[in-house]
Each structure stands twice: as C-alpha cells, then as structure tokens.
C-alpha cells in the first residue's frame, strides 16, 4: 500500500522564456489520494500535462511504476495506465454517454479495424464485453440513466461525472482529476468526495487538482502545494493548512498581483 506508483524527479518545464515548472519533485503512492493545490496559474494543470505527455519535460524525469515516461507517446501513456479528466470539459458531444465511455474502453481491445470489418469472433466478444463494462462504469459513477443521451445535451454535473467515467474506461491505475468539482454546489461536492473515495477503494490511485479547500483537505491523504511552478509544501492536509508559506502564497504579499 505504501509503494510508489508515480514519481516526478526534478521536473522543469520551460516554454521559451517562461518557466512553468521549476524543479518539482514529488511522488504518489499506490491507492493514495493526493491533492494538488496552488493559486491560479501556479502550474497545476501543467503538471497534469507533463504526466500525460502533452508536453515533454525540459529537464528531469517522470517515472510510472518504475519506468520512465520520457518520449512515450500520449496514447501509450494512457494505455500504460494513466488517465485524466479536463478542466474545461472535453467530451465528444455528438456521441452518447455510453459511446464516450466505450471509446475509452477501446484502449485495451485487441481487435482493431480489420477484425471489426470482418466481424471476427474476437471483435464481437470484446464489443459485448466493453459495452457492458461501460454501462457498469456509468452506474458506478451514478449516471447510469443517461446511457443513450448525447453528451452535449447532458446537465453540467452529469457531464463532469461522465468525464470521470470515461477516464475510468481506459482501465487506469492512476486517475488524474482536474478540478472535478468546478461549478458544483455544496451538496454535489459532498457526493463527489464520496465518489472519489469510492474510486480509491475500488483500487485506483487518484491525483486531484481542486480549488475548493474543504473538499481537497477532506478527501486527500496528502497534499502537494505548487506556487509559481515550485513545490512549496508536501504533507498531510492538516500540516499543509497551517504552513506559513502556503498561507502566504494564497493570501499574497501586498505588492503581488497574481
């Protein structure tokens, strides 16, 4: 249970003159819920982007289950067991909720275009299996009744949860949630916290970016704080809440305007 699943080592991410991440190191342990917080623009989504391969790190290394992710193609990283949701919802609007999730389950299919075309048994079997699995995930997240509705027509809260279900469809070991509670009312946030714990208890590891402090502190086992691209804290929620540097980062010093 205390084995490390993801390790960022001295990760620096530079875009031209802008240093988005500066020598960031931390690790996530298996079946842990790690919260990632920090003021706006601190670099949190950049962390997600370097983990999922959207950007290649300028310096440093990221290793997943002991293997470096350097140079790995994005879809292969996902196949390897890392999935994410997005800050701005990026569902495939013209597909149904079920289809969105099934597309994610395609990641691990052995059958491809040719076997699909000729209706080979392996293709038919996998189709059936994954369709059931997708429905299962929709039910698990609590949106099972929206199976055949087009994603673009779904209520906001359902869309956010569909993103999670879709990410789970790729059979990840590590799930990255980017502000999953954005725009939720307090009741929905409580439900979401329950869902996140449910996900962890089902065997997944979760890295969570959130702005709602009570949600993050309440659900995370540990919290990492990033400010201006640098890690300024990495500890239990209770310790982090009282950390002077963290408080300064959020409240700021008078001249700063973030």
């Amino acid at each position: 249970m205390s084995e490390s699943i993801l390790k960022l080592q001295n990760v620096t991410m530079q875009f031209g003159g802008v240093v988005a991440l500066n020598d960031v190191s931390f690790e996530i342990k298996k079946q842990e819920i790690l919260g990632l917080i920090g003021p706006n623009g601190a670099g949190k989504t950049t962390v997600f982007n370097v983990i999922t391969g959207v950007y290649q790190v300028t310096q440093g290394d990221i290793s997943f289950e002991g293997k470096s992710l350097k140079g790995t193609k994005r879809y292969k990283i996902t196949r390897g067991g890392i999935a994410r949701t997005f800050q701005n919802i990026r569902l495939w609007g013209d597909m149904t909720a079920l289809e969105n999730v099934i597309t994610a389950t395609d990641t691990h299919k052995k059958s491809g275009l040719v076997s699909g075309l000729f209706g080979l048994p392996v293709s038919r079997k996998e189709e059936k299996r994954d369709k059931a699995r997708a429905q299962e995930l929709l039910d698990f997240i609590g949106i099972g009744e929206y199976t055949d509705r087009l994603a673009k027509n779904l209520p906001y809260g359902v869309q956010r949860r569909l993103e999670i279900a879709r990410a789970l469809g790729t059979e990840p070991k590590l799930l990255l949630l980017d502000e999953p509670a954005a725009g939720f009312n307090p009741a929905e946030k409580v439900e979401l916290a329950k869902t996140i714990r449910k996900i962890r208890d089902a065997g997944y590891t979760v890295l969570l970016i959130e702005h709602d402090m009570s949600l993050v502190m309440g659900v995370s086992d540990r919290v990492v704080v990033i400010d201006f691209g640098q890690k300024i804290a990495d500890d239990l929620p209770s310790k982090v809440q009282n950390d002077k540097r963290v408080i300064e980062a959020y409240l700021g010093v008078p001249e700063d305007a973030s």
Binding site: N49, T52, V54, F86
Partner: protein
C-alpha cells in the same frame, strides 16, 4: 549552363526580386487574415486576379490603349500607372471586404463545424474564378503596353529594367507603409492585439467585426497592388492565374511563418528568387511542381516557417 547562369545571375536576381515583391504583397493578404482569424483565406488568390483585371480595365477602357498604341511617357505615364495602382488596390480591397461579409462572417461564431470556413472559402474562390472565366470566355487577356520597358542601366552586370525597378521600389514602400500602419495606427494595433489574444482584445473594448473587416481591407489593398505589378511585369492576365500565384504566395507565407508580417516579406522574396533561378535550370513547366514540393517540404520539416508559430502544436 552554369557559366550562362553566372552571367545572367544578376539580372535573374533583379527579376526574382520583383517577382518576390509580388509574392510578398499577396502573402500579406494570407498572413494578416490568418493572424486575426486563424484561417486560410483561400479566396485571396481570386482577390489578386480581380486586381489584375482592374489594371487592364483602366489601361484599355479608361485610357483607351490598344495593342497599337504608343506607350506613354513622362508625367502622363506616372499618372496612368498611379491610377492603375489605385484602381487595383481598391478593387481588391473592396472585394476582400465583401468576401468576408458574404462567406466568412456568419461562420466565425459557429465553432462546431471546423471545416466550414475553409470549404466556404474554396466555394467563393471557385465562384469568383468561374465568374471571370465566363466573362472572359476562358481566354487570356493581354494588356496593351503602356510603358516602355527601358533598361535604365546596369548594376554589377544586372539589367535594370524599368518595370522591375518600379515594382521593387514601390513594393518596398508599400511593405514599409504596412509595417508602420500595423505598428502605429489604432487599427493596426487592434489587429495585432486580436492576433495575439482575441479574448483579451475584446475585453479591452476592441470591436472585432471592425478589426476583421479592416484586416481584410488592408490585406486586399496589398494584394491588389500585387495585381497591378503583375500586369506591369507580364502584360497579360487570365481568370486562372489566381490559383497558381495564390499557391505560390501562400507557400511564401508559410515559409516565412504564417501570421507573421516580417515572415511574409522574407518568404516572398525567397520564393521569388528561388523560383526564378529554378526556372532558368528546369524550364517553366515544372514550376508548379517545384512550388508544391517546397510547400510540402516546409510543412513537413519546419511547419513553423522561419519566424512563425508552430502549427502542429496541441493544446490541452
């Protein structure tokens, strides 16, 4: 062959430079629209073509020149050339504004179909070209010679032909004017602001419709000037020259980095020189393939162009 080339090099260079400036001006039409709308103004090639016809109309119909006429000289010549330039610029500028209003404006706000603006642009390009084809009965239209193409002298072995010199000097003036316009005027700054960050610009009170129309106008004016220069240099035009020159100018814009005005300059000059030298060795029938191959190479190996943005970048 090679020694022949050396002899001709300087003259070829002058010719290449004047062709280059024609490309620069058309490329500006593509690059400015791309900077503001992030789309390829496919129909700019026809905007150019209509510009060439404006010059022909001024020469042939307004001033009554025919194939037998004496070329003009002195002040009258300057007056005629100036009028042609203005006519072409206006024709293309206005056509460009109308083009945006008819074919692109509605689609700007509809994000859902990403292919729609380009398909609409292609459609307009076809409509404009076909319309002219029907008007000209599918034939080349020759321009009466208005100006004697005197050799003004030589410069390091280069023949300084009057039309090439005019194009180079006037082209340079136009380009510098445009750069200054974009740097200093209110509309120019607004155009740059929208190119860099549309949302921020809107929040700063920039009227997007006005900026877009302005961009099309300015791009069209430059493209129209290129039309005048083209007729001055080649003394003919036809309904289908838009396609050939459009692809070449577009390649130039990409080469220099699309969206980047400085890039349009370097790209245009480079392509003009390259094409002129290549034509000398390979002959003109492979010209189009050469341009395409340059385009493919640039897009494949260096899609940013020399100065521009990365067009294979993903956003997440």
């Amino acid at each position: 062959m090679l020694s022949n080339f050396q002899d001709q090099f300087a003259s070829l260079t002058i010719g290449g430079l004047s062709l280059g400036f024609i490309y620069v001006l058309i490329a500006l039409g593509y690059t400015m629209v791309y900077g503001v709308l992030r789309m390829i103004n496919f129909a700019n090639s026809e905007v150019f073509m209509y510009g060439t016809f404006a010059t022909i109309i001024v020469i042939r119909d307004l001033f009554g020149f025919t194939q037998q006429s004496e070329p003009a000289t002195g002040f009258r010549l300057v007056y005629i050339l100036f009028l042609c330039l203005v006519a072409s610029m206006l024709m293309s500028g206005i056509l460009s504004i109308l083009l945006e209003l008819v074919a692109y404006r509605r689609l700007r706000n509809r994000g859902s179909n990403k292919l729609a603006p380009l398909i609409s642009a292609i459609g307009m390009s076809i409509v404009l070209a076909e319309f002219m084809r029907i008007l000209t009965d599918s034939r080349y239209v020759g321009s009466p010679r208005v100006m004697e193409k005197k050799i003004l002298g030589t410069f390091f072995g280069a023949e300084l032909r009057l039309d090439n010199i005019i194009i180079i000097i006037a082209g340079l003036i136009l380009f510098i004017s445009l750069s200054q316009f974009v740097q200093r005027t209110r509309l120019g700054k607004a155009i740059r602001a929208v190119s860099m960050n549309e949302d921020a610009a809107k929040l700063m009170g920039v009227n997007l419709n006005f900026v877009v129309s302005g961009t099309f106008l300015v791009g069209g004016l430059m493209t129209g000037a290129a039309g005048f220069f083209y007729v001055l240099k080649y003394e003919n035009t036809s309904f289908n020259i838009g396609f050939e020159l459009g692809i070449a100018a577009f390649t130039a814009a990409i080469l220099g980095g699309i969206g980047n005005i400085k890039g349009a300059f370097y790209g245009g000059i480079t392509l003009g020189l390259l094409e002129t030298y290549a034509s000398f060795f390979l002959g003109t029938q492979w010209k189009a393939v050469t341009v395409f191959i340059v385009l493919v190479f640039v897009l494949y190996f260096r899609p940013n162009g020399v100065f521009g943005e990365a067009i294979t970048q993903t956003r997440a």
